[in-house]
């Protein structure tokens, strides 16, 4: 990936393996990409493809195996403990499940104030209170909820608390890990609109992890497709949906149920089989066993991500 247009985050050859009883699990395997400031990179893939691990490793919530992550030019994998603590203020994570990611014994006030208190941001209690109220307002939480507990609130409101918490330290980069998957569609749309408004107002950069392709198209500037730990295609959002190149991306797009009458007559391409085992994967393309274009050279050697058109990268032997 080129250095053009000041990337806020650059990931280079990132690897994250887990040791298991059966061998090395390749959760993230040699992934490289960059995100420009103020934009959203959507990361899509099926369960177990390594999307969440990727997000967590980048912000140093998981120890890395190999590679580097540059944030504003500095390698965050070389940070010491104190530097990591500073770095975490700028990097935040919104979790998938608003039901289990909030401490049930804390009130909304305590939850939102937590990071501000831990980092001793305000000396004066009144300032802290003002900041919490301001954050509640930004996240669209009514002031009367300040003393409520999470169990009294619905999923959408809980996710708003998660968002207010993430915003409390004025971050510049937020990893959103399936933030709307647990919500009903009408509430999901409210949260998506809020995330996009906040990006415009505060110039936030998002890495948006999801399995929902229509959500990712809506919110992303660029999209990266992961398959069994590897980044197999990356392109600007519109380009990816108009002109998907990798056979897996093509089938993934055709598998989305479309809410229109035209979709009834559409002939679907259904992928056979299931995701291959990420433990000690075989050489060559990891999609080979499910791919109808599979050739003999697909099961040999290391795969490479190639730029086929401007900004459109793909990892597939069909484009050699």
């Amino acid at each position: 990936m080129t250095n053009e247009a000041n990337p806020i985050l650059e990931v280079k050859n990132l690897k994250k393996y887990f040791k298991t009883g059966k061998g090395m699990l390749h959760a993230v395997d040699d992934v490289s990409f960059s995100i420009r400031k103020g934009t959203t990179l959507g990361v899509v893939g099926e369960s177990g493809c390594g999307k969440s691990t990727l997000g967590r490793t980048i912000i140093r919530l998981e120890p890395f195996t190999d590679g580097a992550v540059y944030y504003e030019g500095e390698n965050v994998f070389e940070y010491n403990k104190k530097q990591v603590r500073e770095f975490r203020k700028k990097m935040q994570l919104i979790f998938q499940d608003p039901y289990s990611s909030l401490n049930p014994r804390n009130t909304v006030y305590q939850l939102i104030a937590e990071q501000l208190v831990v980092n001793k941001v305000y000396k004066d209690k009144a300032d802290l209170e003002n900041r919490v109220r301001e954050l509640m307002d930004i996240a669209g939480l009514a002031p009367r909820l300040v003393n409520s507990y999470p169990h009294e609130l619905d999923g959408g409101r809980r996710q708003r608390i998660g968002l207010a918490r993430a915003l409390s330290m004025n971050p510049s980069f937020i990893v959103c890990d399936e933030p709307v998957s647990a919500l009903d569609v009408s509430i999901q749309a409210q949260i998506l609109n809020l995330l996009m408004d906040l990006q415009d107002q505060m110039g936030l950069t998002y890495m948006f992890i999801t399995h929902d392709l229509s959500v990712v198209k809506h919110i992303s500037d660029e999209i990266a497709v992961l398959y069994v730990g590897q980044l197999i295609e990356k392109a600007p959002s519109d380009e990816l949906f108009k002109n998907p190149l990798h056979p897996y991306t093509k089938m993934l797009l055709s598998a989305i149920p479309v809410p229109s009458l035209e979709s009834r007559s559409r002939k679907k391409e259904i992928i056979k089989g299931e995701v291959t085992n990420p433990i000690d994967p075989k050489p060559g393309c990891r999609f080979a066993s499910r791919c109808k274009y599979c050739m003999s050279k697909c099961t040999e050697g290391d795969m490479e991500l190639k730029e086929i058109e401007k900004d459109h990268f793909v990892m597939c032997r069909l484009f050699d």
């Binding site: 099926e46 369960s47 619905d154 959408g156 009903d184 569609v185 009408s186 509430i187 999901q188 749309a189 409210q190 998506l192 609109n193 996009m196 399995h211 392709l213 229509s214 959500v215 198209k217 809506h218 919110i219 519109d238 949906f241 089938m251 993934l252 598998a255 989305i256 149920p257 479309v258 809410p259 229109s260 009458l261 979709s263 009834r264 679907k268 259904i270 992928i271 056979k272 299931e274």
Partner: protein, 335 residues
């Protein structure tokens, strides 16, 4: 079940009311719904969490939580037979054999300590009216597993040895084991990845056609409905606010504001709209439903009339809408 003509309703629900009663409060889960399922067709029930979709399904099978969930009025008929007055053992004969259910979460709906073969066998054995031998039933288990795309050699394995998609195939195999006339699928693919969802939905449609079953598909995904259903009912706060054929619901006619809102909330793959048009506010509290039209607090077009009067259902051929704004058509007729 072949005695019924194609157009007859195999399952009919009339004016069903269901409440959940606890010491402290009463939840009005289903408030007077009418539904009919035609033999061999698929009816989609769409709505958000708490709309009463699953409660409706559980009422049909009489599986509401004991002592808490109560059907206060209404009727449910299957092949002309009233289900709500049936005794316990009669209901057991219908459950699993004539009407069966596919549950939402394949991870928790299988018994972890029994092999998958035994779990399919159980359903066949309980409804073994023809007194088939054990060997014949085992052969049937093999055939069912193969029909859902699982090699019969795996029948001695336990649920944890299967992936999520495979587990859902097993749940489907159990539901279809006795060739039911009606299958109720409650969010059968919500827990699955899109590619696996496409596999499972295609398989379900194929089996439905092959076995001539009717299906009720409960989902919140309008895309799934468009691709698999013949008829659709949109539920909100325990009521059906709009129903019709797929062409009625997805076609360009006047819709209920809630249906409109649901469509506005989905990010579209086709258009480039930069902002979604969500429905404002939240689902109403089912212990304290709003007066008049239950959607009025969230409706952008609500008037004084909507706050006070319950809207009357209007029929436009197969299309049915309950909204004050939509006039014309024919009033509901109870033949």
């Amino acid at each position: 079940m072949s005695s019924i003509a194609q157009n007859d309703n195999i399952l009919e629900i009339k004016d069903l009311h269901v409440v959940y009663e606890t010491d402290s409060e009463t939840v009005y889960a289903v408030n007077g719904i009418d539904l009919s399922l035609k033999a061999g067709k698929t009816l989609g029930i769409v709505g958000e969490t708490g709309a009463g979709k699953t409660t409706t399904a559980l009422s049909i099978l009489r599986l509401l939580p004991q002592d808490i969930g109560k059907i206060t009025s209404g009727s449910i008929t299957f092949n002309g037979q009233e289900l709500l007055t049936l005794g316990k053992s009669e209901m057991q004969k219908i459950r699993g054999a004539s009407i069966s259910m596919i549950f939402q979460d394949p991870m928790t709906s299988l018994n972890p300590v029994n092999t998958v073969g035994d779990q399919i066998y159980e359903s066949l054995m309980l409804h073994n009216d023809e007194h088939k031998s054990k060997k014949e039933l085992e052969e049937r288990v093999d055939a069912i597993l193969e029909s859902v795309g699982i090699p019969k050699t795996r029948k001695k394995e336990y649920p944890h040895q299967f992936s999520g998609g495979m587990k859902q195939r097993i749940v489907i195999a159990i539901a279809l084991a006795c060739h039911p006339a009606v299958v109720i699928a409650d969010e059968p693919t919500t827990a699955l990845d899109v590619t696996i969802q496409a596999q499972v939905l295609a398989m379900m449609s194929a089996l439905r056609d092959q076995l001539g079953m009717a299906m009720i598909l409960i989902t919140h995904d309008l895309g799934v409905v468009a691709e698999t259903c013949d008829d659709v009912a949109v539920m909100y706060a325990g009521e059906i606010v709009e129903s019709g054929t797929v062409e009625d619901i997805f076609g360009h006619v006047r819709h209920h504001p809630y249906t409109e809102g649901l469509f506005g909330s989905i990010p579209s793959l086709g258009s480039d709209a930069k902002r979604l048009k969500p429905i404002s506010g939240l689902m109403p509290d089912p212990t304290n439903l709003p007066t008049g039209c239950s959607f009025h607090p969230r409706c952008p077009y609500a008037t004084e009339k909507c706050r006070e009067e319950k809207p009357e259902a209007r029929y436009f051929g197969t299309h049915f809408v309950a909204c004050h704004l939509i006039t014309g058509g024919e009033p509901k007729n109870d033949e």
